[in-house]
């Protein structure tokens, strides 16, 4: 089972432009660090919580499915779930 997980994550990492991948659990600690970007975990966790609560405040039936932050240098993508967060940092336009 874990082999599939490993394979998925590896596949993600080998995509063009991907700089790093992080999996964060609900309490905000990282379970899988594949790059030295520990700071992302805590900060993005808080941001995702905030984004999710905003979406739900606007419409209680709604929920956050994906969060993308585009910055000058790269794009941070966050896929949220009830318990975990998958964070990928990609540099799209090389």
């Amino acid at each position: 089972m874990s082999a599939e997980v490993e394979e998925t994550l590896k596949r993600i990492q080998t995509h063009k432009g991907v700089i790093g991948t992080i999996v964060v659990n609900a309490e905000g600690n990282t379970t899988l660090i594949t790059s030295t970007k520990v700071d992302y975990a805590g900060l993005l966790h808080q941001l995702t919580m905030k984004a999710r609560s905003t979406v739900r405040d606007l419409d209680p039936q709604n929920d956050l499915t994906f969060l993308r932050i585009r910055s000058k240098k790269h794009e941070i993508m966050v896929a949220p779930d009830k318990e975990y967060l998958l964070i990928v940092i990609q540099n799209p336009s090389e």
Partner: protein, 576 residues
Amino acid sequence: MEIVHVYTKKRNEFGRQCNFSDRPAELHVDILPDPSLASNFIERDPCDIPIQCTQEMSEHEVNTERFESDTRGINHVEGGWPKDVNPQEMEQTIRFRKKVEKDEHYFSTIMQLGSNMEHCIKQNNAINIYQEYFEEEEVVEESEEQPSAKTINVFRDPNEIKRTATCLSWHPDGSCKLAVAYSSLGFQNISPDMSYDSYIWDIESPNKPEMTLKPVSLLVCLEYNPKDSHILVGGSYNGQIAYWDTRKGSQPVEMSTIEHSHRDPVYKVIWLQSKTGTDTFSASTDGQVLWWDIRKMSEPTERLVLDPNKKGNLDNALGAISLELDYPFVPTKFMVGTEQGLVVSCNRKAKTPAEKIVCTYSGHHGPIYALQRNPFFPKNFLTVADWTARIWSEDIKESSIMWTKYHMAYLSDGCWSPVRPSVFFTVKMDGTLDVWDFLFKQNDPTLSLKVCDEALYSLRVQDNGRFLACGSQLGTATLLEISPGLCTLQRNEKALATAMFERETKREKILEARHREMRLKERSRSEQSKDEDTKEGDGEESVEELATRTEAEFYEIVEAELKKRAKEQEKKVRRD
């Protein structure tokens, strides 16, 4: 007809409590209707009377006190580990992680999220959605718009007792911070409650300064180090120089010793372009220009006394108010603007102290508050003093090549625009800011803006030429943005400005030459008249001949000048 009621009261009863009593009504005056008076009036029929039946409302304004808000952030560092896991212990964290990874739920979640994520990653790789599709062509703007400037922010002195903002300095990288030096330049105007602090403001937050600098005495001038944006040097009212490192706090890192500092307030301090990036020099009205290395502030590295007689005598020295370097061409030559209205050009590396002062430029009537070279034409510099601003050429020492008219208010500071060679700014004591563009209009400022009611004392343009800050007497620093027309280089501007400077320089040169010749003639004539007295009779004819000959020559020269002038005028007319 007046109706009056007279009552008397004894003097010693004044101030006593009033005792009221009841009394039946008394008829004092009875005015009966007099029909004969009606003939003075004309009856009006019909009468228009508007009546409104509404609720009566009254208007009342209330303004709440300004609510000061502060922004705070929290940084989350280490995650929320469960109670039994000690985050410091590597083993425990690894064990916990492994445990989570074995969880079923983990698998399914990651698979699902993973596929989502892959979709987005592939999207990103497929098309760059932020790509510029239509590259904007070079917009050749002939901006017809009116030049304008608008105030963006106002930074007020937070202290009770307001001090004058005497000097401003922009942060060298990015210009998002402004350092303002506050002092009081009036003689003995410093009260004991006056705070000595100077502030560094962040442009975005005008309510509270970002950092405070606490000197020992009021700071008259303040400059950021262009090489190291954390270091500032300031000259203070008591003559000492101090330097700060913004990383190290509000107290100065080091101060110069009082014995070796200036004896008067330090009016200007400039950083020198040196390899170490730690050299500065300062000027003060005690007549000295001192060079300092900030690593060793106990003593100046060099000293120059501005004695016009070149003797190094401090008593005769001219008080210095402004400084300007000759960088980038000659880093050792510099100019000093003095209290007496002279601009002195000096060479630091001259061998004898007498040679240090190279030449002087006279023409102003009052202290020269600002002195700056044109960033595009270093041979021309701007001085701001008394009621005019003048532009000089280095070669002409007797007078300026261009000058503004005499204004109604004293000019207190000025500077060139760093992006346009023909634009400069001045501020006056009546609180107005003038923007001059001498290619557009020579007689008047292109834009004149009243910034505040009190006098403006200092002015500084940001390096991109777009923003400028001016400081006023009550310590208010105003940040203004100028319209793009005044800060983008127009076509041919450099060429036109060059032509104008050359033309004016030539005119002054010719005038100077003519003056010199006239003086020479005068001198020779006065010498000849002396000769006449001594050689009575003898050779009178030859003297007279000489006199007529010189007269004829003189007139010839004048005519030649007039012809030249006419040709210049023609050229000017043809060019315009």
